[in-house]
């Protein structure tokens, strides 16, 4: 009886330790493995939508209002967040759209640009670099470029 009594607390503490470790392991695994990345992607997706909407508004605002103006030279800085969901990304102008491409496939956004027909847009912004939008008139059209420096 006395021998067993001495063992009881040790067994109890070991059991408790094991249960707590198991619990912490399970909770950490579910948070880090499932919930956290999911929320990070969801928040990043929201941020991406906002970034693309703001970038498109900046690009449209850079084009001067009398679109048939003959000599145009505009250069404007556009501030973009350096990372979304902890990773660098790119904003690409192609086919009259702005598209955000991100290494995480859960983070994506794209919007068409509302610009007059004689305006062509191209170029790429790398997040973290100095991002500039330039507008130049050339051969009866306006050329809008996204430039990273």
């Amino acid at each position: 009886m006395r021998d067993r009594r001495a063992v009881t607390p040790a067994v109890a503490k070991t059991l408790e330790l094991g249960v707590v470790l198991l619990f912490i392991g399970a909770v950490s695994a579910s948070l880090v493995g499932g919930v956290a990345p999911e929320y990070r992607a969801a928040a990043g997706d929201e941020a991406a939508g906002r970034v693309v909407a703001a970038a498109a508004t900046h690009v449209e605002a850079a084009v001067p209002v009398p679109v048939d103006a003959s000599a145009v030279s505009v250069e404007r800085r556009v501030d973009l967040p350096p990372t979304i969901a902890g990773a660098a990304y790119r904003v690409v102008a192609d086919g009259g759209r702005l598209t955000l491409s991100h290494p995480n496939p859960g983070v994506a956004a794209s919007t068409p640009l509302a610009l007059p027909d004689r305006v062509v847009v191209d170029g790429t912004w790398e997040s973290g670099a100095e991002t500039v939008v330039t507008v130049e008139s050339s051969a009866n059209r306006l050329r809008v470029r996204l430039v990273s420096r």
Partner: protein, 229 residues
């Protein structure tokens, strides 16, 4: 010894289990707390959903519609009533590409102009615009009286000389129509929209000239674009 223990209330061998039970209760409480936090975070994320793309489409749509180079405007922020009435959903999407994949509704002064799909619960953006329409005003001028000033400015004047005998018509001192032996039939003249037209005829004129002017009337209205992407 055994009497002592039962007096305290812990039977032999039950102590470890009792503390395990307490631990289990604590862990259940902790799990509930974590679950609750995640639920709160979920609700916060869901309520932060303001759909920036939808809002941008609505703002851009109003911007493009009232732009000076838009087919719907006469000048910046002044919509042409006729062009607005003739607007179709496809023409609007052509003007505002961000509306391409969305349900939208455009209302002008509370009246729906264009609608595609059913944009329930979408984002609405409003701005105040002027809506311009031309009203034709025709008046008869006694040619013998010599001069008349039109009360409202107009871009075009149309003269009908059927019942008159007039050789020369001046607007603000400049000769706009002249024919030796008398003007006949109807003539249209473009005049400046930026000054009031004073019409004078030559001193020997007789009869009655009918003059039509097309003054622009503008009314304020709220342009509302609702987009549900």
């Amino acid at each position: 010894m055994s009497r002592q223990r039962s007096a305290v209330g812990f039977p032999a061998g039950g102590r470890g289990q009792a503390s395990l039970l307490a631990l289990a209760a604590a862990l259940v409480a902790l799990t509930a707390a974590i679950g609750l936090s995640v639920a709160f975070a979920d609700a916060a994320l869901a309520s932060a959903d303001r759909s920036p793309v939808e809002r941008r489409a609505a703002v851009t749509a109003t911007d493009r519609v009232v732009a000076p180079d838009s087919p719907l405007t006469r000048r910046a922020n002044v919509l042409d009533r006729g062009a607005v009435d003739a607007l179709t959903a496809d023409a609007l999407v052509d003007l505002v590409p961000p509306l391409a994949d969305a349900a939208f509704r455009v209302r002008l002064g509370g009246r729906t102009v264009v609608e595609r799909g059913d944009p329930v619960g979408g984002t609405a953006f409003r701005r105040i615009v002027l809506v311009a329409a031309d009203a034709e005003r025709t008046r008869s001028i006694d040619a013998a009286a010599g001069a008349v000033t039109l009360p409202r400015r107009t871009g075009t004047l149309r003269f009908d000389f059927t019942d008159s005998d007039v050789e020369t018509v001046r607007v603000n001192g400049r000769v706009v129509l002249h024919r030796d032996g008398g003007l006949a039939g109807t003539e249209s003249v473009a005049v400046s929209r930026f000054e009031t037209a004073r019409i004078t005829v030559d001193g020997n004129a007789t009869g009655t000239i009918r003059v039509s002017s097309y003054p622009e009337r503008t009314v304020k209205a709220t342009l509302e674009v609702t987009v549900d992407a």
